[in-house]
Symmetry: C2
Amino acid sequence: MTFEATCTAPVNIAVVKYWGKRDTSLILPTNSSLSVTLSQDQLHSKTTIRASADFVSDRLWLNGIEESITSNKRLVACLRETRALRTKIEAEDASAPKLAHLNIHICSENNFPTAAGLASSASGYACLVYTLSKLFQLPLDASDLSIVARQGSGSACRSLFGGFVAWEMGERADGADSKAVQIAPETHWPDLQALICVVSDEKKGTSSTEGMQLTVKTSPLLQERIKNVVPQRMDEMIAAIKDKDFPKFAELTMRDSNQFHAVCLDTYPPIFYMNDISRAIIRIITEYNRDGIKAAYTYDAGPNAVIYAPAANMAEIYSLLSHYFPGAAFDDSLGLLNNAAAPTTLPTNFDQRVSPVFPQGSVKQILHTKADDGPRVLAADQGLLNAEGLPKRLA
Amino acid sequence: MTFEATCTAPVNIAVVKYWGKRDTSLILPTNSSLSVTLSQDQLHSKTTIRASADFVSDRLWLNGIEESITSNKRLVACLRETRALRTKIEAEDASAPKLAHLNIHICSENNFPTAAGLASSASGYACLVYTLSKLFQLPLDASDLSIVARQGSGSACRSLFGGFVAWEMGERADGADSKAVQIAPETHWPDLQALICVVSDEKKGTSSTEGMQLTVKTSPLLQERIKNVVPQRMDEMIAAIKDKDFPKFAELTMRDSNQFHAVCLDTYPPIFYMNDISRAIIRIITEYNRDGIKAAYTYDAGPNAVIYAPAANMAEIYSLLSHYFPGAAFDDSLGLLNNAAAPTTLPTNFDQRVSPVFPQGSVKQILHTKADDGPRVLAADQGLLNAEGLPKRLA
């Protein structure tokens, strides 16, 4: 008996940031957060899970390398929760195939290099839990699944939906109300696009898991953010999205990115994720917005910038970035340059002195993408495992 | 009739930072602050002021270049206040020479380049007001004078004292209780020394006058700092200084520097003063402190680091900095290298990977100094004006 499912799940980039846990084992956050789900056409995790009576143990391959399952408490939690739900189904319905007791092989890949510094744990755990739910045919909606995925990686819960997604922090000690909800689907605001700028960095930053708990422990300013800033900002952000009010959305996004990095800096010892290139991009976007907001930057726990903007501004923004950061590879999956050649001159009245021109390769890659849908189920022939249940591709 | 005074005044570097005014014309701060006065043997402003019936107008030369007095509201306020006090003396004492109505020539120089990014307005205004008080023989103590100097440049009030100096924010609307007081004289803790690292920077930062008011206007986190963080931190810092408790002094200093830059980053648009070199110095000092605090970094509104440490650690710290920042010029006025050659190896157990080695000249200069005394009166032959009342040296 063999059962198998293969799915992909998207990356999400928060516009109200998650930083701090009130419960580190259940992964319950100190504040709500909100993100935009980016298109799987550019970036995704892909996972095949097969359950078979032939398998002698649970096994896992990540990007072609076998990893231990038992030593990964978070992964174990996701497997335990979904198997328990499958066991219940099988107990209640005698006709349901008996899968819960079978060993599984999990094979997962990202279609972007981990080295790019793009959050892979969010798409990875969302894909794991979504694929498990398909394998086990769990009668759960995306919010229910988000509660499971959250225990793998907090921000993974938001990758269970497309479009604009809030992670409601919840109040309960067991985390049953700490879940993702969709604020608006990807079809609500098709004009909103994103440029991801992969920034070269000398220094590997602090892991977000360690970093956020050091902030909780040592930053006096974090409490103010949690108690007084984020609750109001969440309301304003949801309203801005519903109204498709880009200037408001952009201001809130930039302020929240700034504040996230501010509480990192207020941590002791301080945590830095942005470098001089990241800051130059902020200065360039700030100058670009001088006479009215046309773009928003945001930075996660690394130096890479994500720039949100209406589609009409994208060629101009790409041109600006190309001026200051020559030599960046451009991933044009949306056909930006084919449809409208990027201008070669800077925008009128743009004060060029806002930044020096950086050496070739300071920004390694620029990737054009957009808000898009949630996890997808793929056809059986798209699976990552071969007939023996081993990865078709090894690292 | 000619009257003249020549004085020098020191630079001070805050360990609890001033950032934000509640009254921009009287220069009343949103929080109290505390600084260490650094030795005039290395860094000072020097000012000669002459009053003469021969002068047809008030004139001012700064670093050899004539500047307008009337267009400088802050300078006008300092002159008006001190002349009013002199007028009162002359009215009450018929034997007092009549100076208040005479025109004056002011000649002021810094012995360090403005381009070095070291706060020159603090020493400059402290020196101006101190020299005026000597010229006019005002019966004011240093705290009284600090109220006048504060109206020239906020942090100038702290340069009226040597040693460890608090600027009490005060409560009154007229600023009469917003003044500097000495927490401890320079003789209290002679073991405390400082290294100033002059960092090369591509980009001129936001002026502190503009920057701090943008923070007051836009940073939600600043209010928390003002209301809840600084009052307690001031008490703890004063206790640490009185106890000569270096680890406590150092932790508070680093935390407050971090928080100042955090509220700059929480400003909209964000303000950056530290660059990748500044942050590398933080990482190096953090690693150096891993098994116990041996040094403290602090950064003002620019990328330069000031490192406070006990005298015994200075050679080791200099050696560390020289490793990561080759080619920095070293100003050894205190005889650090003569008295104890800096070690050429890194400290035991120091994790070198904390930072890359930077290119030659990334840190331009390292200057060794210490806590020292307040403004000094110089002999008449040290004056900066010639017989005609013009600068002996022009730019």
